[in-house]
């Protein structure tokens, strides 16, 4: 257990815990776009930067991304200095120039009093903020079907060679974790298309709705030992079946009690 000072208040934290986790626990509002509990932090968006120092640094201070900074005893943290605010505002301003149509970025910018970017809007910009959440979650799932390719301003998230990703199983984790909702996919009654790859869907035996892609089901059966029957019905029907069963049990119990 270590003691650190956050905005003048001494708080306890576990040694090696990431600073952002501590700040959030303390209820301090720190913006972050690339941070997610399910994935390892990488420090792409730089919004969670804070100022740190130590007593023995004699007034010297530096700025670090709190998502990646392991806390240590005696750390002095300031989360809302003018320099920190300037960093956040500038980054959001730059993101707004790059993603002018993103609701998430627009809302964040408004919170910082930015209604129009100070910079030239990027002509080839889409709403991708290059946070790598999609590639990291794909890696966590053990597939790494997509990755960041090219470099600098030309960097994009893409499957290998821009073709149908052979390792993609259509799980939609990338699309669902995306903070700016920029990864499109389409479902029909029996197929799902994402990253230009089309998957067959398993349909619910009771209601006929889509449950999961065949590839994803096979992956989970093999890797996570989930029984095949689990994928035969959709979540909603499973819930209804469970409720029905519960009802039967209660009725039986009531009958027995009488």
């Amino acid at each position: 257990m270590v003691h650190i000072t956050i905005n003048g208040k001494v708080v306890k934290a576990a040694e090696g815990e990431m600073l952002l986790t501590v700040l959030k626990r303390e209820g301090i509002d720190i913006p972050a776009l690339c941070h997610h509990e399910a994935i390892e932090p990488t420090g792409n968006c730089r919004l969670c930067m804070v100022e740190i120092s130590r007593a023995e640094w004699e007034g010297w201070k530096k700025h670090v991304t709190s998502c990646l900074y392991p806390v240590e005893d005696g750390l002095i943290v300031n989360t809302h200095t003018p320099e920190v605010i300037e960093i956040r505002k500038t980054i959001i301003d730059l993101q707004l120039a790059n993603c002018p149509d993103s609701d998430v970025i627009q809302k964040m910018a408004e919170e910082y009093g930015i209604y129009k970017t100070s910079y030239e809007t990027v002509p080839e910009g889409d709403n991708c903020i290059m946070c790598y959440a999609c590639t990291r979650i794909c890696e966590v799932l053990g597939k790494s079907a997509i990755s960041a390719v090219m470099r600098g301003h030309k960097k994009v998230i893409a499957p290998p060679f821009g073709e149908e990703p052979p390792d993609c199983i259509g799980c939609l984790a990338c699309a669902q974790i995306c903070p700016t909702n920029v990864i499109p996919w389409t479902d029909t009654d029996s197929t799902r298309t994402i990253w230009k790859k089309t998957f067959d869907l398993i349909t619910c035996t009771s209601c006929g709705k889509a449950v999961i892609t065949k590839d994803f089901a096979e992956y989970l059966m093999a890797q996570r030992q989930i029984p095949k029957e689990y994928f035969e019905t959709c979540d909603e029907c499973k819930r209804m079946a469970t409720a029905r069963k519960m009802g039967e049990i209660v009725t039986k119990a009531q009958e027995a009690a009488l």
């Binding site: 990488t42 792409n44 730089r46 670090v64 500038t90 980054i91 470099r151 301003h153 960097k155």
Partner: protein
């Protein structure tokens, strides 16, 4: 031949020295990058052919040797005849027969190929007396240009691997670290981190595996020091790495060489193979019980892979992107193991320190920047080439005494040190001593040693635009301040060059630069705005001229200049012939006129005119 004892190494050295001494005369043909581009490989073959044909008494075909970069690239292709040190410059294949006949057979000089200093009109025979060479002090470049890099025997004859033998027999690992620390050696890759402290930290870390890596990813435009060491004296790098590995307890390492240096890759690999064969690398080196092996890892040419954490990811086969270094790579580096990463020049310096001692090294240079530093001179300077000088020497001595000043009668304007991430220093900083701390205080940095000299026809804003464009291309794109920030900074700089910017844009650039410097993830982004920050610091008036007056004082930025023809025009038609858009009209012996509507301001007319008749306004 396997060298498995110190005695055998000494005996081998004597044999190598005797073999070299038997060669009364030697012809050294520079095969450094500049001379090679000038066709020096054909010159070498021609020498070998003619010498073999003539069967001369004083010289054998074996004594016609290729070497790495001799240094004076501006005068290449270079041929040096030893032992006299006769220096022939701008040699062509057609001159070879004459050199053989006049110098090797008759013992006379080929006057027209000798170097004449344009400032003094003095002609030199021995290269060691030429001001370009006379002011230098070579430690890391001690063998470059002097030996055949493919012959391990030549390296050994000049004392190679003696330091390794001394270290393995007389010194404990801690003694080596202490000696490096006491020498004050600082990283030559640019950061200037104390090498001894780095080694000590790595050695202290609890770990079963430690790595010793060499950074040969020299990516700064205009820098070629490391390239020349790897091409011209690869064994000095290997010896330095082996000594480091012994000091920190490493058993394996990599030399990371960029793919754009094919000859460096080949020569380093040959050196590794030769050292292996002799038992100087691999298992049980010199029968000391210490083992260390080196492999080459080839980089794909991304500038960011010169950054330590990106380099290590690249060596590991991952995408070369940096990570935050709140835990330093010397603690958690390649494959998350403690890793020492030093630059080519740093390793090449280590064996000399081991042999001559820390005190000797400290006696050269300044108190906090000891020893010497290699630089490559490029740009608007007479003597472009590779040099090594004691730290603390002034920029003026480097650029004017060694570099020979600015050609074509132009004025010195600025020198860019430290590559794109460094900065431009103006004329009033010429007397600054060149050391790590002074250059940083002046708003530039030592960097790896590239020095680009600019004359008064260079526009400060255009220079910033050029380097920012380079950095936008080379940013890895992982973090926002670097990817988006440098992109916007470059856009704004282009706006100034085009005369479309306001003073608000300049203020925005200054604010944005501060955030990029503070908030970027790695050194590339943190130093990325430097081209702008340093030029605006020293050439603010020039920025304001672009913004307020819509003028480019240096006459470079196309949108802000016009070409006109004055009455010095003799009507020679030369400009009319070169104009790619037929914008110039006029008859023979009559004043020509440029149609401003059609002119694309390409500058072809200005370049071709022999009468100073084209003005840039």
């Amino acid at each position: 031949m396997r060298i498995d004892s110190i005695a055998k190494l000494s005996q081998w050295r004597q044999e190598c020295q005797a073999k070299l001494a038997a060669q009364k005369r030697k012809v050294l043909v520079c095969l450094g990058p500049g001379c090679l581009a000038g066709g020096s490989d054909e010159i070498l073959e021609e020498f070998k052919r003619i010498v073999a044909e003539k069967k001369l008494a004083d010289i054998s075909v074996e004594a016609v040797k290729k070497t790495g970069c001799h240094g004076f690239c501006a005068r290449g292709p270079l041929v040096v005849i030893e032992p006299e040190g006769i220096f022939y410059s701008k040699v062509k294949k057609a001159n070879v027969a004459e050199i053989v006949e006049t110098t090797l057979e008759k013992g006379k000089l080929v006057e027209k190929l000798l170097y004449t200093d344009p400032r003094t009109d003095k002609t030199y025979t021995d290269y060691k007396e030429i001001p370009f060479y006379a002011r230098q002090e070579r430690i890391s470049l001690r063998n470059v240009g002097q030996i055949d890099p493919d012959e391990i025997g030549e390296y050994v004859a000049r004392g190679g691997y003696a330091a390794l033998a001394k270290v393995l027999t007389e010194m404990k690992p801690q003694d080596v670290i202490d000696a490096v620390s006491q020498s004050g050696l600082r990283g030559r890759g640019g950061g200037g981190f104390p090498t001894g402290r780095k080694w000590a930290t790595c050695a202290r870390e609890e770990s079963d595996i430690r790595y010793v890596l060499c950074n040969g990813d020299e990516g700064d435009p205009g820098a070629f020091m490391d390239r020349c060491i790897m091409e011209g004296d690869p064994h000095s790098v290997l010896e330095g790495m082996i000594i480091c590995a012994y000091a920190v307890g490493s058993r394996e390492g990599y030399v990371y060489v960029r793919e754009e240096y094919p000859l460096a890759v080949i020569n380093m690999q040959k050196a590794i193979d030769a050292a292996h064969e002799c038992g100087l690398l691999g298992a049980n080196i010199l029968a000391s019980g210490f083992s260390y092996d080196i492999k080459i890892s080839r980089g794909g040419g991304a500038f960011v892979c010169g950054e330590s954490s990106a380099l290590m990811r690249s060596v590991a086969g991952e995408v070369g992107e940096p990570r935050a270094k709140y835990i330093r790579s010397v603690v958690k580096g390649l494959h998350d193991k403690p890793t020492v990463l030093n630059n080519v020049e740093t390793y090449a310096t280590v064996p000399v320190i081991m042999e001559k001692g820390a005190d000797w090294f400290r006696s050269i240079g300044t108190e906090k920047s000891t020893g010497t530093k290699a630089f490559s001179l490029a740009g608007k300077v007479r003597n472009t080439g590779l040099i090594e000088v004691p730290m603390g020497i002034s920029l003026r001595e480097i650029i004017f005494d060694i570099g020979g000043g600015i050609p074509d009668g132009r004025e010195f304007k600025a020198v860019q040190t430290g590559g794109p991430s460094g900065g431009c220093l103006p004329a009033d900083k010429l007397d600054l001593p060149v050391d790590f701390d002074t250059l940083t205080r002046a708003g530039s940095m030592m960097g790896s040693g590239g020095m680009i000299i600019m004359d008064d026809r260079t526009c400060a804003v255009d220079v910033a635009r050029y380097f920012l464009n380079f950095l936008v291309e080379e940013s890895c794109g992982k973090c926002v301040p670097c990817r988006e920030g440098l992109y916007q900074l470059h856009k704004l700089c282009v706006k100034i060059c085009e005369g479309k910017a306001t003073e608000n844009d300049l203020a925005l650039m200054e604010r944005l630069s501060k955030v990029i410097q503070t908030a970027s993830l790695c050194g590339l982004g943190q130093s990325g705005p430097n081209p702008f920050v340093s030029t605006v610091q020293y050439f603010r008036d020039e920025y304001l001229a672009h913004i307020r007056d819509k003028k480019c004082p240096a006459g470079v930025c196309r949108e802000l200049i016009t070409y006109t023809i004055n009455d010095k025009c003799t009507g020679c038609l030369a400009c009319i012939k070169v104009c790619p858009v037929d914008a110039i009209t006029g008859e023979k012996k009559k004043l020509h006129v440029i149609d401003q509507e059609a002119c694309t301001r390409c500058g072809s007319c200005y370049a071709v005119c022999n009468f100073d008749a084209v003005d840039i306004v």
